[in-house]
Assembly symmetry: C3
Homo-oligomer: 342 residues x 3
Amino acid sequence: MKFTVQEIADLIKGTVDGDPKTEIHKLSKIEQGEPGSISFLGNPKYTHYIYQTRASAVIVNHDFEPEQTINCSLIRVENAYNAFAMMLEAYNNLNREKSGISKYAAIAENAETGDNCFIGDFVSVGEHVKIGSNVKIYSNTSIGDNVVIGDNTILNAGVKIYNDCHIGNNCTLHSGVVIGADGFGFAPQSDNHYAKVAQIGNVILEDNVEIGANTTIDRATLGSTIIRKGVKLDNLIQIAHNVEIGENTVIAAQTGIAGSTRIGRNCMIAGQVGIIGHLEIGNNVKIAAQSGISTNVPDGAIVMGSPAFEISNYRKAYVYFRSLPKLADRISVLEKKFKGEQ
Amino acid sequence: MKFTVQEIADLIKGTVDGDPKTEIHKLSKIEQGEPGSISFLGNPKYTHYIYQTRASAVIVNHDFEPEQTINCSLIRVENAYNAFAMMLEAYNNLNREKSGISKYAAIAENAETGDNCFIGDFVSVGEHVKIGSNVKIYSNTSIGDNVVIGDNTILNAGVKIYNDCHIGNNCTLHSGVVIGADGFGFAPQSDNHYAKVAQIGNVILEDNVEIGANTTIDRATLGSTIIRKGVKLDNLIQIAHNVEIGENTVIAAQTGIAGSTRIGRNCMIAGQVGIIGHLEIGNNVKIAAQSGISTNVPDGAIVMGSPAFEISNYRKAYVYFRSLPKLADRISVLEKKFKGEQ
Amino acid sequence: MKFTVQEIADLIKGTVDGDPKTEIHKLSKIEQGEPGSISFLGNPKYTHYIYQTRASAVIVNHDFEPEQTINCSLIRVENAYNAFAMMLEAYNNLNREKSGISKYAAIAENAETGDNCFIGDFVSVGEHVKIGSNVKIYSNTSIGDNVVIGDNTILNAGVKIYNDCHIGNNCTLHSGVVIGADGFGFAPQSDNHYAKVAQIGNVILEDNVEIGANTTIDRATLGSTIIRKGVKLDNLIQIAHNVEIGENTVIAAQTGIAGSTRIGRNCMIAGQVGIIGHLEIGNNVKIAAQSGISTNVPDGAIVMGSPAFEISNYRKAYVYFRSLPKLADRISVLEKKFKGEQ
């Protein structure tokens, strides 16, 4: 990449303070700026770096007023963070542009692929698969029979999608994601062994879903495990059979959700949370890291602990937990005094 | 699939109440039944759905007595749930039938494969591997040298088995499973760095074992990590080197078992449990979700907590934990009263 | 393998007590020794086995003094454990020797590979990749564009490395590892949906790093996620974007570290630990299993709990947690007595 400060300002709808002709060929953090790089100042905590940075240009908010001399060019925009995110995106697209179908891909004859797809080496595409336009499928990915994949979706290297699953438009699945493995369903038999319950449902990812590396989403026993539009799942998450996750809910790494639980919209679930099966979690719920959820959670609740309860009550209880030896001492003192007195 | 109600009744050894000629082409949940589908009524909680369902037929227990008009055909069997599971299985087998060896597979010349195997695209089979009959190996799976795989076993897409490991008969390994990676063994050296301890053992899965997606089972340092017959492991589980898991034990997702721990038969271990190394866990043990096990557990124990102890004691203690601020207030009140009195 | 006891003694710089010509063709644990195998006695707890073992030879420390008759040959060395580890390593190298490039590999024309590399079936190597000497890359591994891999590094089957990442010398990555997937970065928008923040940084693994099966290390938003030399990570660990882990730190399975946290040198972090983002963890820190770290941790601290605090204080508090019902009873008794007295 090579652009002038003015070209970048035009792209992000900003105005230039300083030399518009300075050449930029790199993005950097403000604290690690190098000549030829452009950075941004979003968080006021980082303001002091702008007076020392070696970056050639910094994107700032419209109302930024320097209190010392500044050695770089400034590009003023309405929201510096959003403008920089836009640049990251543009840079990313420049660098990851791929197209064409590898001669090492194995695509079933009756599979359909849309316009302008990239299909990498050793990708296996099963019978009757339908792949939309502008889809990118990186190497060593496996797609089972009858899978449907929407437009503009990216499957990174080594994704595995079992038969009959549906992936929406504008989704990104990271490496090692497994969509549609059998739900964990076994019927106990009289002699202590378990008989497998076949899992004949599927998984549906709606549009704009992102799934982190090595996350697993199991197929439903019957019907569908459903991830609604705009959901973002981090790495190494477990979603069991027949779960449903509502729109725009985000879940951090290593959280697990057991079978048939339904999660509402706009929830924020932190990392390493466990949620047992057959629960209803409301909308706009927040769950703190490592919590264990064993009962339904109403809309808007914020909970913590294992089992979890209201977060400020948890925190108060935990303060006393830490000082339990002192509480016990106070009881002992009272007991002795009481005895002495009698 | 297309069957009449009578044909299905014959298959599952049931008797028909209603029209035996109705055509069925789909399985459904009773609450989501559609014309042309068959469903089942297992759990009495769902009985009210049978009076509204649009399913064409419902499998019920012999002794079911309707209390309102029913619009669908009934098939009466001894155990409706088991009969439906049998149908799921039959349906599943119809849909997943695969055979033949992909021209894109790489199989070592000295590897042996039994009758009627399916080997998918980009499967790599190492030197001296022995594969039984009716084995299905889906795409992008890697099998190291000297691996042995029993009859009727299924390796889903992207399974990785390191050299020298043994997989039994009738096993199912889901996508992304890793069998036989090196155990985590390092010897601390005087300058703070660690020297690797080579791990030259293997992993043995006995018959009828199912392993969930992205679960990892490490090879033994010496000898074998052993998963006994009938064990069912869910997704994203970690089994460290030299662990042994007894027959018919089931373990839920994201649980981790550290090195050399031995787990007994018929245990039920919930999700996100951690068990430290070199422990003995007895038979018929139950461990609640998110528990941390740091000592041996005797036969039949039911435990919870981190560190875990007997579950009803844990629950009682947790009730008081939640009300710790109140307990502390009661101590303060006593202290004040006592002071006031003196 | 087939060696005499004398040949092995020469290799590990030991002296023989017994028949130097005995033939050895196998390594075994002392409690499972078989004729023809060699074992070792490191831990004094196992000393009683040496009087019963059927192993043909046992490696012992120089100063070992038998108290009963011994039926096997002994090889005396300075450190029996280290000598045996050396033998394990030698045995492992004999068995895993692989070289050559599979005709089923897809290597970009402008990629470079060093001397004596092994590249297995269905390995995809991207544009401008640089691979050092003596590198072994097993089947179904995917390497993105511009990746650099140092000398003597091993990538096991099914590793996925995204574009622009750097892997050092003498590293081992186990199956299913994902290096360089996008960090979990999304900017909340006014209508509740999230806009993706492109992640254009990379991951750097320095030398002598080992990464366990299915562990994921995300690329930085900008700059690098850095794993310093000698770090050992177990299976199923999550390392988020912009994290830095100091030299010779070891982390057990299923631990997760959130974005931008920096971890010092020589730390020991147990399994299933969660560490939130933007923290500073000092050098020589120890963290107990299942702990949750939500604040900075100073050098040398040993912590436990969720949220974690100093380990001996945690253990004391937990003792009282277990007996909370009794503490509550003591308060009730005091309240009654006090009331009765007034």
